[in-house]
């Protein structure tokens, strides 16, 4: 972090989000201010732009830069089996419950980032012997990160924390079973991801495009303010079949959302909710 650079003013951020809205039709105005400001600061440092005005002029004059900009401001930190106990509950309760009444299961990873969570889901389904019953959609706002998710190739050093999570989840195999090592990277077997389709989708402005039995949107909405959280939750609600499940991050909560009364809490610890009202 740079000590000398002046604070980014909120008025500058407003101007920036307006330019982006006008020119690219992406809406960042309801992103949570503290993290959005930090991400913009990061972009300024990374590209050595001296202030927000400079960033604005680059965005105004260079459309090619926009995708890169989106990649840099979205947060893409994730791991396989993050919160191992969550995945255990999914395996032991949630997925069996869904398959009790359905022969197929449709799953949406909303904000899939580099795809670790999708890979995790496929491993869980595979270990349950139901991977062939699943249809999985993984979406993100960032094109570059979707390509990364599709490639499902991760630095070997990341597999250390992933393996530890897997052990805590008490998986029946070892993580090595699912990938091969190529040039210091872990390449996930493509067969594991056969039922996954990846597409670009913006949770903020995108439309409801399908219905699902299970939606995972963990630690995505924390980057939004409460207004936007409410909007997105309405869309997620609409994208669920009645009695479908929604999983959010362990430190997110539906309590103060307008739509909370249309869900019941299935597991408060792991923040798994069930849609009970249309």
């Amino acid at each position: 972090m740079d000590d000398l650079s002046p604070d980014i003013e909120i008025t500058e951020l407003r101007k920036l989000t307006q330019v982006i809205k006008d020119k690219y039709d992406y809406d960042f105005k309801d992103y949570a201010m503290s993290s959005f400001k930090r991400r913009i600061k990061r972009v300024l440092d990374l590209y050595k732009f001296k202030n927000v005005d400079k960033l604005i002029s680059v965005l105004e004059n260079n459309a090619d830069f926009f995708d890169e900009f989106v990649s840099e401001i979205t947060v893409n930190v994730t791991e396989m089996f993050r919160d191992p106990t969550f995945w255990k509950i999914l395996k032991e309760q949630i997925i069996p419950n869904i398959l009790l009444n359905h022969s197929k299961i449709t799953i949406w990873h909303a904000g899939c980032s580099s795809g670790e969570e999708v890979v995790t889901m496929c491993m869980v389904l595979d270990e349950m012997g139901v991977l062939d019953k699943a249809k999985i959609i993984a979406t993100d706002i960032d094109t570059a990160i979707i390509n990364k998710a599709k490639n499902a190739t991760y630095p070997l050093k990341n597999m250390d924390v992933n393996s530890k999570n897997y052990a805590r989840y008490q998986g029946t195999r070892s993580l090595e079973y699912y990938y091969k090592e190529v040039n210091g990277e872990a390449v996930i077997h493509k067969s594991l991801l056969e039922n996954v389709s990846y597409r670009k989708h913006d949770l903020v402005q995108g439309v409801v495009f399908s219905k699902f039995d299970l939606i995972l949107c963990r630690n995505v909405m924390i980057y939004f303010n409460q207004t936007l959280q409410n909007n997105v939750l309405n869309k997620l609600h609409e994208s669920l079949f009645k009695y479908g499940y929604l999983a959010i991050g362990s430190k997110e909560s539906l309590i103060w959302c307008e739509i909370a009364n249309k869900f019941i809490v299935v597991n408060n610890e792991e923040k798994i909710y069930k849609k009970v009202k249309d």
Partner: protein, 194 residues
């Protein structure tokens, strides 16, 4: 010392547990300012830390949810594997961004965002620790005219963190844990007579 302050942030790492428990055991029960604790902790252990800190505490300590509203006199602990930041409009925001100073939660993020919100009405206290997390945050607090306190390096089990802050910025007080407790007591009195 004055009653203009609206919040306190406390950061600590290796060697800070004893100090922070002493502070929480001795801070007046109805101390009016919210306190935000950012303590380095194991990222995969979600449970046990709040409970351990609570055993002798005079205060109820909670790990906030994202966008939780800040309450008067409440004590918030940054949850495992999340950064804890403050937002304008009296809310807390959590984040899973990259590690900062090898840490998540990172003290610098809690301190910097708190100082942005509370400006000169923030008190920052940095305790024992083995790295330099918190030094930048203390500098931001000072830049915005808040009050800065570090645990006396001679008392700190590991003094790298207080020393890093002392090197980074002007520190108003270098105090032992006992002196920090006395400071909070005196501060508390100012809010009672006001």
């Amino acid at each position: 010392m004055s009653n203009k302050y609206k919040a306190i942030v406390i950061g600590g790492s290796a060697g800070s547990f004893q100090g922070i428990t002493q502070i929480l055991a001795n801070v007046p029960k109805d101390f009016p300012l919210p306190m935000f604790l950012c303590l380095h902790r194991l990222k995969h252990v979600r449970h046990g830390f709040v409970e351990a800190l609570s055993i002798k505490s005079n205060k109820v300590i909670s790990e906030p949810f994202d966008k939780e509203t800040i309450k008067k006199g409440a004590v918030y602990l940054a949850p495992a594997n999340y950064h804890m930041c403050l937002e304008l409009g009296s809310t807390l925001a959590l984040s899973t961004e990259d590690l900062v100073n090898n840490s998540r939660p990172a003290i610098d993020l809690t301190f910097e965002t708190a100082s942005y919100v509370y400006r000169d009405k923030l008190i920052g206290i940095l305790l024992s620790g083995a790295n330099k997390d918190g030094a930048y945050g203390m500098m931001k607090i000072k830049q915005r005219d808040g009050l800065t306190i570090v645990q006396d390096p001679n008392e700190s089990m590991i003094n790298a963190m207080p020393n890093a802050a002392l090197a980074a910025t002007k520190i108003d007080y270098t105090l032992t844990i006992t002196q920090i407790i006395n400071f909070l007591y005196e501060l508390d009195k100012l809010y009672r007579t006001a």
